[in-house]
């Protein structure tokens, strides 16, 4: 049984015990422990269940590669599933629960799957549950889905109690990995004066060297590392980050580093995670190597661990996985584990070595220490259930039929050699090469990931580059299956991927069935698709696959390494952008006032506009009705500040305007306004608005609220890229002005009361004119334009004066019952007038001609944007639907988007149609439903009654009428 040793543990502080619970059971560890170490130290070997067979699972590794030991951590708003115990730092009060079992970890009903393993080979679900079809839908699929997943989902109403932050950083060199290779690389770059960021995923530096106790540059590794870290921390051009993992390398040297700031101090006033978004000149990957497991039967039983992990637990935490720990290996390095165990008094019954003859220095030391070494030997089978009880041995070159010995032990360390961690090299396209001698994939220096300049920008150093400090070690023997000719029964119990339950036999079956590409094998068997993304399993799996296909390993290749290196929290990806500011929020100068009035908001792009201003007890519909009635009867105010305002200025401004708009703009007189349409080069209507000519060479273009930035970009595009010799410039002044529409029969009176220094009378300031001056002492530009059909002044004032001006209007309007109105009232009133709305009457497929806007398309101009597009066959077809007004016979409101069905179906079985509703509202002014729509040949069918879809599912009769329902002659706006 695993246990805490009496002495040692370079990372723990025995003076600071920490209490925690696992599945509700109280346990004790020490400051400096990982949760994994604390669990093992407390004797907890069984920590979870596997995905498919619900097999018992224990800790295999000591770091990020751990596939098995995942727990749910924390509670309530801080609960998080799938936390790896080997990289979770222990803290007092930690609460962990194991995953994927019912009713309990020790007794799991799902484990019946394991008994039926013969019936659940790789990809079995593709071959069954096929018929009958209803059973799939109602029985099989629901069962499969219910058994999905590992960790418990956080509660549906979870609102993460932690915060996250993001930082930008720039450096010449980022070094991933704080082992000896990384420290050396960082120091070298720093000494050259480069800006360096050094990251280490653990809370401590030194990598394997400090565990193995080697010497570096004549110094004990521990001391050397300490000195180097201190030196780097003291350098002004170096940022040293612990608990920080480079999670991904992206194009052109964009690097993400994931810092776990406060995972070990939950509830502290710190961000939990910090995501560094680094732009690096060079990335140095000093990410080390990961030890490979060996594939033998029963290698998934709790207590079977990587040999290096055992060493880590012993040296770092003074924890041994057992009292009697055997080692199985194909290389010399594993003897370090045997020696480390021996040194702390743990019995090592034998080192089982697959090699015929074992000759290196380390085995010699082991033998000298009295450790038994069994050559040319393999683990045939591990005995035990929820923990190891012994191992059966056989000759390595055999099918495992003959057991040569059974060794009693309660844990087993395994080592199949080492695989460089090449993820960061590969994320952005770096290629690998197969090192035959060491049987590993390493970075191919000739094919690095390329940066913006076409040069490689990632370098691997140390073990990550396939360089090992293994002088005096004998060659390893590549071992992909143990024993070499293991029988089916053994192969079917030799795990490759312990989390997803993929075994040697599964990969062989995939190959047999033709899933021969490494990607097919992965996807068919789910090999390497678990939360560890194959860090332990992939190399063994593809060696088995290569063998099954009879081809060398490099020909099989690897699957693609994708970011992140290990999973990163979604909270950190979101960063600070959550809640009300999860996207940028654009506010008009009068925003706070609207808010104080209890406006109901409508998002328009990143803007928010008041939809209406409901009073206590009012529905939104009531509010809209009241607002409309008040405008039509007296006066209302609209915050129109979001409207786009773009200045077009220069000697060629008129010429440019004529290209932008479908109608003629160059002949607009100074002081006048004109409604205009803009189309894209396809001829589709893209924006509309009123243009004012401010001076001979200056136009002010009003665009839709959503269109301002797009249209400004569009203008710049044409001026810079097509007509760059034209003397025009454009400026987007949308946010420089607040714009307020004063609308209604009493509009003039309100403004007069505020006090204008120019004549507001109809004679001197008629409809479609604009004037500049002071109103209420504030510089203003007033436009006599109307989107409602009422007497209306749209008045622009400097943004900083917007609120003051609004206040003056409200005060002056009080005696007329002035009230603000929102976008919905605006929409209804424009529909009453038959004015089109971009986005309602248009949807990117509508040309101006469809909307009866031929009058706004100049026949005189040789060219304007969209003219060629409108000349195409389908655009000039007489069969296009065209704009009309629609009135139901019963006065009801037509449903949004209702179509006018015709008898008959097309050859795809779809009902034929002859028109559709584009805008539909209840008109408080007319006391009935009104609508606009486009109908086949509509304008020629005035008075005709046709059927539209009704809300109830049937049809409703509507008469085709003129789209203008209110004051067709324009007498109200033109006063």
């Amino acid at each position: 049984m695993s246990h805490r040793l009496g002495t040692g543990g370079r990372l723990i502080d025995r003076a600071r015990p920490m209490d925690f619970t696992f599945n509700g059971k109280s346990m004790r560890g020490y400051a400096g422990d990982s949760l994994g170490a604390a669990l093992l130290g407390a004797g907890q070997v069984l920590v979870g269940r596997s995905f498919k067979y619900h097999r018992p699972r224990g800790i295999v590794a000591s770091g990020a590669e751990e596939p098995n030991a995942l727990v749910g951590l924390g509670e309530g708003q801080r609960f998080e599933p799938n936390q790896r115990v080997t990289t979770t730092e222990l803290f007092s009060g930690l609460k962990a629960v194991s995953q994927n079992h019912w009713p309990s970890l020790e007794f799991d009903v799902g484990a019946v799957n394991a008994k039926l393993w013969r019936f659940f080979p790789a990809g079995f679900y593709y071959k069954t549950f096929i018929s009958p079809r209803p059973l799939w839908k109602h029985v099989y699929e629901p069962i499969i889905r219910r058994s999905a997943g590992l960790g418990k989902a956080p509660d549906a109403e979870t609102r993460d109690a932690d915060r996250y932050e993001q930082l930008y950083a720039y450096c010449d060199v980022i070094v991933a990995g704080g082992g000896v290779a990384g420290l050396k690389a960082a120091r070298q770059a720093a000494d050259e004066g480069k800006r360096v960021i050094l990251t280490e995923q653990n809370p401590h530096f030194g990598g394997r060297a400090v565990v193995d106790g080697i010497e570096v540059e004549g110094q004990a590794a521990e001391d050397w590392v300490k000195a180097q870290v201190a030196a780097l921390q003291a350098m002004p051009n170096v940022t040293v980050l612990d608990r920080t993992m480079v999670s991904g390398v992206y194009d052109h040297g964009y690097v993400l580093a994931y810092q776990r700031v406060a995972d070990h101090t939950p509830g502290a006033e710190k961000p939990r995670h910090r995501l560094w978004r680094v732009r690096a000149g060079q990335v140095i990957s000093a990410t080390g190597a990961i030890e490979r497991p060996l594939s033998f039967a029963g290698n998934d039983i709790p207590g079977v661990m990587l040999a290096s992990a055992i060493r880590d637990f012993v040296v770092n935490y003074a924890v041994s996985p057992g009292k009697k720990v055997a080692i199985v290996t194909n290389n010399d390095d594993a003897y370090r584990t045997a020696l480390a165990l021996h040194a702390v008094g743990v019995t090592v019954p034998a080192v089982i070595d697959a090699r015929k003859e074992v000759t290196g220095d380390l085995p010699a030391k082991a033998r000298a220490a009295g450790i038994r070494v069994i050559e040319d030997c393999a683990v045939r089978y591990v005995e035990g259930g929820k923990s190891v009880t012994g191992v059966q041995l056989c000759r390595f070159n055999s099918d495992g039929g003959a057991v040569i010995e059974t060794l009693a032990c309660d844990a087993l360390g395994m080592s199949g050699g080492w695989s460089p961690v090449v993820h960061l090299w590969s994320h952005c396209g770096g290629k690998l090469t197969w090192d035959e001698g060491r049987a590993l994939f390493r970075p191919d220096a000739n094919r690095p990931p390329l940066g913006h300049d076409g040069q490689g920008f990632v370098t691997c150093v140390g073990a990550s580059n396939g360089e090992f400090d293994d002088e005096g070690e004998a060659a390893m023997l590549p071992v992909w299956l143990m024993p070499a000719q293991a029988s089916y029964e053994l192969r079917a119990k030799a795990w490759l991927d312990p989390q997803n339950d993929v075994k040697v036999s599964d990969v062989q079956l995939a190959a047999k069935e033709g899933y021969a590409s490494v990607e097919h094998t992965k996807r068919y068997t789910t090999l390497g698709m678990a939360t560890d993304q194959g860090k332990l399993s992939n190399i063994n799996g593809l060696a088995i696959l290569s063998d099954a296909l009879g081809q060398p390993i490099p020909q099989t290749g690897t699957t693609t390494f994708r970011p992140p290196y290990t999973p990163i929290s979604i909270g950190a990806i979101g960063g600070e952008a959550r809640g009300g500011i999860f996207q940028p929020l654009r506010k008009t100068p009068i925003y706070d006032w609207h808010m104080a009035q209890g406006a109901y908001w409508e998002p328009v792009g990143h803007w928010r506009r008041p939809y209406c201003y409901p009073k206590t007890g009012e529905t939104h519909g009531d509010a809209v009705k009241r607002e409309i009635n008040q405008v039509r009867k007296s006066v209302g105010l609209l915050d129109a500040s979001t409207l786009g305002k773009i200045i077009v200025k220069g000697p060629d401004a008129g010429r440019f305007m004529d290209m932008l708009y479908t109608n003629m703009m160059s002949n607009l007189k100074v002081g006048k306004c004109r409604y205009g349409l803009m189309c894209n080069e396809n001829g589709f209507l893209s924006d509309d608005g009123v243009v004012a000519r401010l001076s001979e060479d200056t136009f002010l273009c009003h665009t839709t609220s959503g269109g301002a930035d797009r249209i400004h970009g569009w203008m710049e595009d044409w001026l810079q890229c097509e007509w760059w010799d034209w003397k025009v410039h454009v400026v987007n002044l949308t946010e420089q002005y607040a714009q307020i529409a004063v609308v209604g029969p009493n509009a003039r009176k309100v403004i007069e009361k505020v006090g204008a220094d120019f004549d507001l009378s109809a004679e001197s300031f008629p409809f479609m004119d604009w004037k500049e001056g002071k109103i209420g002492g504030i510089e203003a530009r007033a436009f006599r334009i109307s989107f409602s059909g009422e007497l209306s002044y749209e008045i622009a004032v400097p943004a900083s004066k917007g609120q003051a001006f609004w206040d003056k209007l409200m005060a002056a309007g009080a005696e007329f019952g002035v009230m603000p109105y929102g976008t919905e009232a605006l929409h209804v009133m424009r529909a009453e007038k038959g004015f089109i709305m971009i986005g309602d009457e248009t949807d990117g497929t509508v040309i101006p001609q469809d909307l009866g806007l031929n009058w706004a398309i100049s026949k005189k101009k040789e060219d304007f944007l969209g003219k060629r597009g409108m000349e195409r066959e389908a655009m000039v077809s007489p069969d296009r639907w065209q704009l009309v007004g629609l009135e139901t016979l019963d006065g009801s409101v037509l449903p949004d988007g209702a179509l006018a069905p015709l008898p008959g179906k097309n050859d795809n079985g779809q009902q034929e149609t002859q028109g559709r509703v584009t805008s539909t509202y209840f008109s408080p002014t007319l006391g009935k439903g009104i609508a606009m729509g486009i109908v086949h040949n509509g304008p020629k069918r005035m008075g005709e009654v046709i059927q539209f879809q009704s809300a109830a599912g049937g049809t409703v009769a509507a008469r085709i009428v003129d789209p203008c329902f209110y004051d067709k002659a324009g007498e109200k706006q033109n006063v």
Partner: protein
């Protein structure tokens, strides 16, 4: 071909699974076929399958430069729906959806079609109107959809925050019979069925040239030699422009990278597919328990199939806002796929300037859901030389004529 069934598995279990045959044969190419399909993704394989099934044409090779199903078929977020606005789109996607319902039985391969329901959130007044319009159109198109209110949205998706501070959920367009399927299995099932009909699925065979005589293609040059054909079908998604260049014509296609990611697996938390176009994100939970999340596309031409970052970040922010509990999960893996975007974002199933050559491409971000319908329509086009009712409106010449099929009004950016 051994039929797959529970009995077959039981039989094999007793003999160490030694009796399974190859799912598809891996023959060397012949010198000539009646039809050569370039591209063994879902669309190419489905085209071949329906050539055989509906028209009895089985002297067919499907050639693939990498591994079959290795393009967008194996990289997408597996959403299946047909709640499209425009008639031609609704027709082909609904055909596809209905074929998905019986695909496992048709192919004797469980593609795990899961009609769990697809929900498209309306988070602005404009979206509400857009989806109500789609609902109306769908009624006449024979597509079952329904606009539902916020309370029903919450009932269907308890982890959703329908009262977000910026974009409260105003309703959703709900297609109960939409859902997901296992993407790889669709390619594998079709490949197995094609192989069983005697067709040749040839992997690791890249087209390096197109040979034509008098406006007709006679053969394709490949890394496995020259392969002659009477008819050629090009079904290569993101690489369509490249193939068209070889064949001597240009397409209204640009290839960009679309981003996607999955979380670590968790126990079932969301039973339906949710798409949120205002905030640019969509999400479902796979049968393994991962939250499968689709993001936006990079806006520049790109063939690298790599994940980029900014769209993932943007999507994740939106999804945290919509599903706050996601904040406590972790991202397991991100990747990119190369999608082929047309001038109106709708696909092309079309004759080409070369008489005996046909092209199927431009599915953009939404091709997976169309696979069987697309194959059905493309097979008809190749067999008859003229498009049938499903393909007719998807001609590559529609842009010149101004006959767009624009879904942007209702579909937004995401598929």
């Amino acid at each position: 071909m051994t039929r797959y069934s529970a009995f077959a598995i039981a039989r094999e279990a007793m003999r160490q699974h030694t009796g399974w045959q190859k799912a598809w044969a891996s023959p060397e190419p012949k010198a000539h076929y009646d039809v050569v399909i370039v591209g063994a993704g879902g669309h190419g394989l489905a085209t071949a399958y329906y050539l055989g099934k509906n028209f009895g044409i089985t002297n067919v090779a499907i050639i693939e430069k990498g591994w079959l199903g290795g393009g967008n078929t194996g990289r997408n977020t597996t959403i299946i729906r047909s709640n499209y606005l425009q008639d031609p789109s609704a027709a082909i996607y609904e055909k596809a959806r209905s074929l998905y319902e019986t695909m496992s039985q048709d192919l004797n391969y469980n593609v795990m079609f899961s009609p769990r329901g697809v929900m498209m959130l309306a988070q602005t007044e404009h979206e509400v109107r857009g989806y109500k319009r789609t609902e109306m159109a769908n009624k006449l198109q024979g597509v079952e959809t329904r606009f539902i209110g916020p309370a029903e949205v919450k009932r269907l998706v308890p982890i959703m925050n329908i009262e977000g501070p910026r974009y409260p959920v105003l309703g959703a367009l709900w297609q109960a019979r939409g859902g997901t399927a296992r993407h790889d299995a669709v390619a594998w099932g079709y490949a197995r069925a094609c192989s069983a009909m005697g067709m040749h699925v040839i992997q690791n065979c890249e087209v390096i040239g197109v040979e034509s005589v008098g406006g007709q293609v006679s053969a394709v040059a490949t890394t496995k030699g020259t392969i002659g054909c009477n008819k050629l079908g090009i079904v290569v998604a993101g690489h369509s422009g490249h193939l068209a260049n070889m064949a001597g014509f240009r397409l209204p296609i640009e290839s960009v990278a679309l981003q996607a990611m999955v979380s670590e697996p968790i126990k079932p938390a969301m039973d339906v597919v949710v798409m949120a176009n205002t905030v640019h994100g969509y999400m479902s939970q796979s049968d393994k328990g991962e939250m499968v999340i689709g993001g936006g596309a990079d806006h520049f031409n790109n063939y690298t199939q790599r994940g980029s970052w900014q769209h993932i970040e943007e999507t994740v922010r939106a999804l945290i806002e919509t599903f706050p509990m996601l904040s406590r999960l972790k991202m397991l893996r991100q990747w990119g796929g190369i999608v082929d975007m047309t001038g109106d974002r709708s696909p092309i199933i079309s004759k080409t300037p070369l008489g005996n050559t046909f092209i199927n491409c431009g599915w953009g971000t939404g091709g997976f859901k169309a696979i069987p319908g697309s194959g059905w329509a493309m097979a008809e086009l190749i067999a008859k030389g003229e498009p049938g009712s499903l393909a007719r409106d998807f001609s590559m010449f529609r842009f010149r004529e101004g006959r767009f099929i624009d879904e942007s009004v209702a579909a937004g950016v995401a598929h």
